[in-house]
Symmetry: C2
Amino acid sequence: MRSKDIAKLVGVSRSTVSRVINNYPDIPPATREKVLKAIEEYNYVPNVPARRLAGMKSRTLGLFLLDIIEEEKPHHLKISNENLVYNNNFFAAFTNAFIDQANKKDYYILVSIIYNMEDFKKAQDAFYGKRIDAGVFIGGKTQEYKYIFNVIQPDYIIGIVDFEPEDLSRQKAVFVNMNDYEGAFKAVEYLITLGHRRIGIITGDLSKGSGVRRLRGYKDVLSQYNLEPDPKMIVCGNYVEESGFNGMNQLLAGPHRPTAVFCCNDSMAIGAYRAINEAGLNIPNDISLIGFDNTQVSEYLSPPLTTVHVPLSEIAVNMADLLIESIAKGKQVAINKLVDTVIVKRASCKKL
Amino acid sequence: MRSKDIAKLVGVSRSTVSRVINNYPDIPPATREKVLKAIEEYNYVPNVPARRLAGMKSRTLGLFLLDIIEEEKPHHLKISNENLVYNNNFFAAFTNAFIDQANKKDYYILVSIIYNMEDFKKAQDAFYGKRIDAGVFIGGKTQEYKYIFNVIQPDYIIGIVDFEPEDLSRQKAVFVNMNDYEGAFKAVEYLITLGHRRIGIITGDLSKGSGVRRLRGYKDVLSQYNLEPDPKMIVCGNYVEESGFNGMNQLLAGPHRPTAVFCCNDSMAIGAYRAINEAGLNIPNDISLIGFDNTQVSEYLSPPLTTVHVPLSEIAVNMADLLIESIAKGKQVAINKLVDTVIVKRASCKKL
DNA sequence: CTGAAAGCGCTTACAG
DNA sequence: CTGAAAGCGCTTACAG
């Protein structure tokens, strides 16, 4: 079924059929209805590639999930597929809301996972091959994000989550970030409010913007409350459970262990739980713990984890809207939007 | 940059450029290389819609996630986006592996979420508008799946997860199912092996194929071991946490409570944990529990949940391969493929 | 081995 | 208000 067939059926030209489909004014209601009826009856759907070729947009947004592990082989070469990026609730919440919001505005979503620098070719092909009208990148490290500007020409519309542009006039894109700094600040401030003075941190991946900003929040709140920083209280993690386990063991090993620890994400907090349990200590009686992300699991830990909720769906909705706005305007909207976090108080923190 | 530009640059015709791109034989290596070099140098990517229009495939697979709630408003009208289908690890693991496998074979993925019967229009549009070469549906109830055959003409290639066709010669599609029956059978058999005789079940959604098959496995193993079935031991759930909570309360309320319960998925097991804790009982000392799905959370419950692992990535890989095979052959492969489960033993079951 | 040309199914100035 | 026609960027018989 082509527009030509509908035209013949109704007794008008393809031009008229096209005008009805595209809501041109000045079509007499009677004609419009006849055409619409035939379209309905025969389940006619215009050929999208043909429309695209004739100059229309494809109404598709790209979603590129970065899951680049430098030191190792790409994830998908591992034996098990079960622990990939997608199992990470962090992505799932964003992905879901992004698809949803785009669908509402009549856009489709093309998803790809980028496992290594070479895979950026997939994103480039999607843009350059005119599969998508715009695309968003999420999950990358600062260096990886910078690379995007080399791979994707500035005449394509892009969005990035978790990257703070140095110069919005040069790095043009829709940037939507969660307010990591404020979230970390509030998290540690909460521990201080509970009476904690010796507060440790297991940092996130410091090659990601969020890792750096959360650490900065931690440092700043301590200095604001005149608590002297102790380098022994700062251990480096990388957002992975194992690094939380190791980090907590390191914090527990010292002669003067912290009474509370800020884990820069929930996965590391899970590792920290394990370390604390294995050391025969109790949460929150011996040590209080606060996480970041409010992943699904955090609520089911025992005790349930106090954590910083990241409104990923809000980030996703903003991102979809701003990308679609860019497409409508025909030019990249350049903006750096910040979304606030909120603390979810559960049982893993104790008042001293 | 169009093929015409590359042609001019190299000094050949567009036909030749096209032949190089499409790996035609009989191109002299020198010509091939010159063309390839220009393509590389100018980052030329052929216009996908134009290729599609000229008769090639779009190399895109549709992924339709069904999340239809009959009684209520569609999920996305709720205030919070956080608990949608995508947060469900069940989907996430499939989705990830499916994207991954398709990407490996040089296919892109178009995802949409279907919240109500009207949303099937999104899937229809994707097929009829030639956005995709094939598409898979997951997460639906038996009735919803049947509707697909009305909405999508049989000349399009489709796949369905969790639907047992009545007649493969009439309902042509790639069906990949986990072996729910065998999984349930093994789960309950394991409880019997541990010495349990009075075994309850909180069923899944019985409007889904998996719900029916898991219940059947439960019944059959009991009869095979000559344990008389007790209708009081069978309570209906719907795969949602709350129904596990209610179901367990119902099982605990009776005069003669079960020593073990088979929860037909992990979400309901979580609800059951809560009911048991609130009743002041202990898992596994007072009651043993086994789940189904092996979701990420199951491992972090206390005690960690014994459950049936569903190899979703294997299902996804099979589905992607069979869909792509269908596309290559130019006709729907009709097959009903079963994937086996495996029990993951953790601390929630006790030997009597 | 290779170019000129038709054709894929649309949209949209253009002319009336 | 509406039709004929050009053009979007490819691929692929066709002819040589």
